[in-house]
Symmetry: C2
Subunit: 238 residues, 2 copies
């Protein structure tokens, strides 16, 4: 069953704002914001809530078919004092409230930092099925979300798709973006595929079809049907 | 460098009490208790602390070489309200306080419930390197501890050995114990091996050499040098 009513948490962030523009034609959106409602998004159905507070999260779920869970402290350097409420407790609250509200699909924004130690050690290519080696408490918190998703999927039959989002930018700006770039339209495509798939669980790298990539996206292509349209290389060849 | 001064957290639990008797001759022990100090253990150096409180945890670490971290809510059915402070926050506090105090070794009591969904689905044998599939929030919390240990090991060079402890019992009591039993002396041996190894990180099943086991202990034997002395089967053949 394809979802129609989609809740985007953290819709005020960089990725959230871009996704709203891409998904608005296909889904009926409800947007969650941490504090501020961006002026250009006030016309959407929206709610302001602290995802660390369970009751506030549950009240966002009414009538929702699927959640795109982006809300988190996105800083790689985030300290435990922020990672704990925003990324760990917040993600538990979203999964649990979704379950109790009958939501059957969660797309979880994970990160390449779950595997960052492979990159530090240049153990390339990195495959999504290798054991997590987080490079930060932020990476640990996202790996926790992937694990929790596995549990909710195995235990309650919910579909939880985890996307290890690379570097989301309008255009690749430097040598690192050259291999880890995720373009806005490729991001939108992956999230849509994740929303539409019947898969019950999966962890996928989410980057564009960069010729210089070090992370394997074969699974993203084979299992989600992702067909990247962008390649950072084009911006470097003059 | 072999550890001499060892802190055991949760030393009042079933496994903790048994370990004290086995490790006391080899190491200088400091025992942590959650609330009550068992009468027979008052002669040991000890401290009562809530591991969910960082400051209380850090004060336990002074002069310690290694931590055997057992303290947790051990119930498979433990709700989030207990798992969060006792297993997630508590484990973070122990790892972080150990790091800040210069402790170079942690033996972390994990559990087979990190992989419980393989058992539910009878996907045997289960190898320790398969992706975690927790069967409970308890299992998720222990998988979190394994992940956090990976981070502390990769990032700070600490040795973190995670033991997926099976069913710790004086004697195997029924058909399930027949394959998942961990005898007291085999438990003591594995913990000692984990304390003495130079390995920087590892996740190992910790059960006796049960002929009917479904979990692979090859890694435990090869990488830790574990040689089980017990086999539950002996209790069933008459």
């Amino acid at each position: 069953m394809q979802p129609r009513r989609v809740l985007i948490t953290g819709a005020g962030g960089r990725i959230g704002r871009a996704l709203v523009g891409s998904l608005r034609d296909r889904y009926q959106l409800r947007l969650h914001f941490h504090r501020v409602v961006p002026a250009e998004l006030t016309t959407f159905e929206h709610v302001v809530a602290d995802i660390a507070q369970y009751d506030e999260v549950e009240s966002m779920m009414r009538g929702i078919d699927a959640v795109v869970h982006l809300a988190a402290d996105p800083r790689v350097t985030a300290p435990w004092e922020s990672v704990l409420p925003n990324n760990i407790i917040g993600t538990y609250n979203v999964f649990e409230a979704a379950r109790r509200s009958g939501v059957r699909k969660i797309v979880f924004a994970s990160t390449n930092h779950v595997m960052g130690m492979y990159d530090r050690d240049r153990m390339w290519p990195v495959y999504s099925w290798l054991p997590p080696r987080p490079d930060s408490l932020y990476g640990v918190s996202k790996a926790f979300g992937e694990l929790l998703g596995r549990y909710y999927s195995d235990r309650f039959g919910m579909s939880v798709i985890c996307l290890r989002i690379g570097w989301f930018l309008p255009e690749p700006s430097d040598e690192i973006a050259r291999w880890m770039w995720l373009s806005p339209r490729d991001c939108a495509q992956i999230v849509e595929r994740a929303l539409e798939t019947d898969l019950l669980y999966g962890v996928f790298y989410a980057i564009s079809g960069n010729s210089s990539r070090h992370w394997d996206i074969t699974d993203t292509m084979e299992k989600l049907g992702y067909r990247p349209e962008d390649d950072a290389e084009r911006y470097f060849i003059e």
